[in-house]
């Protein structure tokens, strides 16, 4: 049994967790979220490196205290080394290096996307490689065949905006709040998902990728026309995203007959309509549908600690000279896709 301390600070959240190789989450904290009854619902995104600096040390001390262990009890320190905003990534990685050096423990530099990719195995001990992963978040929209620790094949990615970004920008266009995902989903329940004709970029195309920039622009035009209610716009937009995710995932499932399961991770996986549609899709392909609990889908320290535990078991460690990487593809061999949006 190994115990890993995981640190995450690559974007908005500052987080730490203690997870062991038996899948026990001894402690986990995400900065800001303790104050759940605060005026902003407890989660205030903070991109400043200084904020990560202020928050990370107390959070590390907090999780050690919560679990009743000391740094000496930890077998390795895992820290996100990218991709992400360089200042935040540096704070987490340098903190990880300092702790590793001071405590004489090995360092494991984790790719944030690998944290998401492996987190379903933390939640589900029966999940076996290879599995098909749909990673949908504010910054990413990818389909990955997860073949093993450190072994990923990217089947598809967005050629412009991420799905979560489309939700946030649609919420902004419709005058709903931030974060946009829950706001759009809430009001979409009162609307007709087929009321507003919106494009499904790339749906039906043999190209396996995603595109959401044109959909966002189409929502802007439909909203500007004044012909539709906000609820209908939100419901129709959400339906378009669902249709895109399902269509692209269907292609990937067809292309990966050996995948043991269909897995979704990332913050957008919190959307009920998307979950339902993906569950149905997995059933059509006779595959188990695996979605980690919602807190594990959004950015957190436990997924980094778990990725650290998986890498520890595989004997994958990093030197203290390892550098932060603001851009760091999980599958460096993936074919690059054209970098321009689809006109809706």
């Amino acid at each position: 049994m190994t115990l890993i301390l995981g640190l995450e600070s690559s974007c908005d959240e500052t987080a730490a967790a203690l997870v062991d190789s038996d899948r026990r989450i001894l402690a986990h904290r995400v900065a800001g979220q303790e104050a759940e009854h605060g005026p902003f619902g407890g989660v205030v995104p903070e991109i400043a490196a200084r904020a990560h600096v202020d928050r990370l040390a107390p959070i590390v001390a907090g999780v050690l205290g919560d679990a009743g262990v000391s740094l000496a009890d930890v077998d390795a320190i895992a820290a996100t080394a990218g991709p992400g905003l360089i200042g935040g990534v540096m704070v987490g990685l340098v903190t990880g290096k300092a702790l590793a050096h001071a405590a004489g423990k090995p360092l494991i530099a984790v790719n944030h996307l690998e944290g998401h990719a492996l987190s379903p195995r933390l939640a589900d001990p029966d999940l076996k490689f290879p599995y098909l992963l749909l990673l949908v978040s504010g910054g990413h929209c990818q389909l990955l065949l997860v073949k093993g620790v450190g072994d990923y094949r990217r089947l598809a990615t967005t050629i412009d905006d991420a799905a979560g970004e489309a939700f946030d920008k649609t919420a902004k266009l419709l005058g709903l709040g931030y974060p946009g995902g829950p706001a759009v989903e809430r009001i979409a329940r009162e609307g007709n998902p087929h009321a507003v004709p919106l494009p499904r970029p790339l749906v039906g195309s043999a190209e396996p990728h995603f595109s959401f920039a044109g959909l966002k622009s189409a929502v802007a035009r439909a909203a500007a026309s004044g012909a539709h209610s906000v609820a209908d716009l939100a419901a129709s937009f959400q339906q378009a995203v669902v249709d895109c995710l399902v269509d692209r995932s269907r292609i990937a499932l067809t292309a990966c007959p050996g995948a043991t399961a269909f897995v979704v991770a990332g913050g957008v996986a919190a959307n009920g309509a998307i979950r339902t549609a993906l569950t149905d899709l997995a059933a059509r392909f006779d595959r188990p549908f695996v979605a980690p609990p919602l807190w594990l889908c959004t950015d957190n320290g436990a997924m980094i600690a778990w990725a650290g535990a998986e890498r520890f078991a595989a004997g994958l460690f990093d030197d203290l000279s390892v550098a932060a990487r603001p851009r760091w593809p999980l599958d460096p061999a993936a074919e690059t896709v054209r970098g321009a949006g689809v006109k809706a």
Partner: protein, 149 residues
């Protein structure tokens, strides 16, 4: 010097490429316009003009997407300030450091507040449907480099 240039979305790649081709280290290009105006499309075309073969994901969530040789011949940081709430956060992004040997492409520069770069090339995109109007405030430091006439 204020310049106006009319184009269609189908021409956006060519417009972006023309601007990208003349970028020099130290240049700051500000890209303004509503959601869906085509700011990122122009920025991508600029990156492509400097050698980028791979994808250029939206920088909205990451805020800064840095590109460096060998994937591009000129270091370029593609920045989106859409999510910036507070001018103080801007200082921490350390954007000026990219200018020693590279260029900055900045979307949603309105978020800059008082800290804008006075020597920046400022581009505003407006229009609807397929038609776009590009309005550029071309700084004197650009001299005769401005390619759209």
């Amino acid at each position: 010097m204020s310049q106006r240039y009319d184009y269609t979305l189908a021409e956006a790649d060519r417009i972006g490429a023309a601007i990208g081709a003349v970028l020099l280290p130290g240049d700051v290009v500000l890209l303004s316009g509503d959601l869906g105006a085509g700011k990122t499309t122009l920025a991508r075309a600029m990156l492509k003009a400097r050698g980028l073969v791979g994808e250029a994901p939206s920088p909205t969530f990451a805020i800064v997407q840095p590109y460096a040789p060998p994937e591009v011949e000129l270091p370029i940081a593609h920045v989106d300030l859409y999510r910036i709430e507070d001018e103080g956060e801007l200082i921490e992004l350390g954007l000026d450091e990219y200018l020693y040997d590279g260029a900055l492409l900045i979307e949603w520069p309105e978020r800059l507040g008082a800290q804008g770069w006075p020597g920046a090339l400022s581009i505003t995109i407006s229009g609807s449907g397929d038609a776009r109007v590009l309005t550029a405030d071309v700084p004197t430091s650009w001299g005769s480099r401005w390619p759209l006439r």
